[in-house]
Symmetry: none
Subunit: 401 residues, 2 copies
């Protein structure tokens, strides 16, 4: 029996409300060795006041040294072992564009590429064609039909697109076509398990038709498919936690991941303040809220330290409105670190702030990476956070007599 099974067995229901406030990519690094991180530099009196009344931790999303993608980072935050419950790239890509993925759909991330006269790849990204050209190429691919399945092709950005097959008998467990180097032809897709044979055949036929459809084009006269995958069938939150969960997120990918674990995705606007309005509007309908702030991550990816500071300050300014709803438990953290210094996700631990009624307040009085190293909860893993919140919410029965 693993940890989630235990939680599933012990969960009880009550009237408590729990908020998981995720500032995406929250963990940062100081720009200079003696400098401050964005979170440390931000003027965040409300987060600091909550910290003074709460208990803190540093938390590892997946494993020490491992940099998580958005999928594993969120799966871990939601309590699912991110190594055991991997969300395929094709699925994340489809969710990322807001595609309404169905449980048995097989989704693949597509990359346009350039092929020479022998069908060998000369450019794996087709010269990074602009989005407008990518969209035109997608139109060509949309002409492809195959008996027994419905096929969706959707543009993403530049040379990237998504292909989804829908129909009876589809299964994942498939290899990719991308040989990961130039000078080779796209590889045939192979089934990694018997029940995926039929799906492999379909995708190989699609690849061959795609080559015909793109034959006259340049530079995008070919394509590769990666991360062919189905909805991983994660156990749903109501089953594990026994709660009704609502997701408030402005970006499609996070709305999609929330949907995969059975949350209701609540309509909201583009700003954090509109997300707060959504929270207020639906406050009485849900037990648990996943509240996602995206741009701490986006600015991190852009190397925009000040942008991160600004988003943290914007969130801080809205915190009193959130707290005025009187949640029983609030957790503030991120899915992973995205230091502006690195312009990418990173492996670093990130700070966690927990407030609830029956906590032992620790000595930490400001919410920041270095302050939280001394947090009273010590060093944790993301998968422990929601079960911990469950305990504080009185939502776990005593284990054993």
């Amino acid at each position: 029996m693993d940890y989630l099974d235990l939680i599933k067995q012990l969960h009880i229901q009550n009237d408590s409300k729990i908020i998981l406030l995720v500032l995406d990519g929250l963990g940062g690094l100081p720009a200079t060795p003696k400098g401050r991180t964005a979170l440390e530099a931000a003027h965040s009196p409300n987060l600091d006041a909550l910290t003074a009344r709460g208990i803190c931790a540093m938390s590892t999303p997946v494993a020490p040294g491992v940099t998580p993608g958005s999928g594993p980072g969120h799966a871990a935050l939601f309590g699912y072992d991110p190594i055991k419950h991997l969300i395929g790239r094709g699925v994340l890509e489809a969710l990322g564009i807001g595609f309404d993925l169905q449980p048995n759909d097989v989704a693949a991330r597509g990359n346009f590429c350039t092929l020479d006269e022998n069908g060998l790849i000369t450019d794996r990204r087709a010269g990074r064609i602009p989005t407008a050209i990518g969209e035109k190429m997608v139109e060509k691919l949309r002409t492809i039909t195959l008996p027994g399945v419905e096929i969706f092709v959707e543009p993403v950005k530049e040379y990237r697109f998504v292909v989804v097959m829908r129909g009876e008998g589809l299964a994942d467990g498939l290899t990719e076509t991308d040989p990961q180097m130039v000078g080779k032809a796209p590889l045939p897709i192979k089934a990694l398990r018997p029940q995926a044979e039929y799906t492999a055949k379909l995708f190989n036929r699609w690849m061959s038709k795609a080559r015909q459809a793109l034959a006259g084009e340049h530079p995008a006269n070919g394509c590769n498919l990666r991360g062919l995958a189905q909805d991983p069938g994660l156990p749903k939150m109501d089953e594990i936690y026994g709660w009704k969960a609502g997701a408030i997120a402005t970006y499609p990918m996070y709305r999609g991941i929330a949907k995969l674990v059975g949350m209701d995705v609540l309509p909201t606007g583009d700003s954090i303040s509109s997300e707060v309005e959504t929270l207020k509007k639906h406050w009485h309908e849900y037990d648990f809220f996943f509240f996602h702030v995206k741009k701490t991550d986006s600015y991190g990816e852009d190397g925009n330290f000040d942008g991160r500071v600004h988003i943290i300050e914007e969130t801080d300014a809205l915190l009193p409105e959130i707290l005025s709803l009187k949640p029983d438990v609030i957790l503030v953290t991120g899915d992973h670190s995205t230091p502006a210094k690195l312009k990418s996700h990173s492996w670093h631990e990130l700070p966690v702030l927990l407030w609830a009624d029956h906590i032992r307040a620790d000595d930490v009085t400001t919410f920041g990476e270095r302050a939280c190293m001394h947090g009273g909860l010590g060093h944790r893993y993301h998968v422990e956070l929601l079960p911990l919140a469950m305990g504080y919410a009185g939502r776990l029965a005593k284990f054993g007599a």
Copy 2:
């Protein structure tokens, strides 16, 4: 290979003496947000002096957020994965009244209930009949006999009792009769594995005879059986740790759990000072002593903060006598938290104090929840504590070349 298998493989014997001093339910909460816990409020100069020379930790009994019962709390303290090695409720109940449970006995917790004329439950606790009435009803149940098994029925308290069956071919893996709601009849017991079919049949026959035996009574004219279980067959301490272990505990349940893991249960009186006398008397006979102080938990359950303070101070005053025996390693902690504020067990971590010869003393100088958050051993799990003590006692051989 799991952790205990490793310990089993590496253990060596020497003359060292180890004391595990368990203040049951030690972890607490401040009564007010800025206040102190019972342990923080207690005047405990001897524990503090030992803390100054020792190293501290905060420890999670089972898993973050999970509130342990006494069974899992102690199993974990004794080094047994409490999720893997669950001690059934019937077994704990039998041990709790000092019943001399044999390895193949099947024990069940019984609750008297009230049934209407259709056999449907109208009160799951039979109006919480006083203990004297419960005892009279137990006399009725003692008249029940079944071929091939010896049956014991023992009163516990109020509406609670214990039934134990002893004989050839018994097995656990059985459902309970309690439908957990009124308006339903007690459920038939089902076998969850083939070898328990015979036992299920016996208990169902017993239930039917019990109904006849209680038919004329009121309000206890029926009963339910819960937590039907056998001794879980935990590997014994001498096998795992290679030591001779003595248990000093005033309450039957803890004596019983100690017996399940192969400790000798030493005769002792009701007070902590009589437990210290027992420790002294048997000091040369054992390698490891489990020394259990019960009332920190009892007062916690009662919401009696001052009672907890008093028991901690009483234990503290006796600590010099314990230390005068010159143990090589002493661990002071609890099985779980029982904050007076909550009047129940809780999920919170609890403080651990380890003293031994070769420790690196940390900066903690007072034994308390918040002080131990900064302990040099960090945040631990209960199952790690005895192996750690083994290391300090020189009782674990080098692993690998």
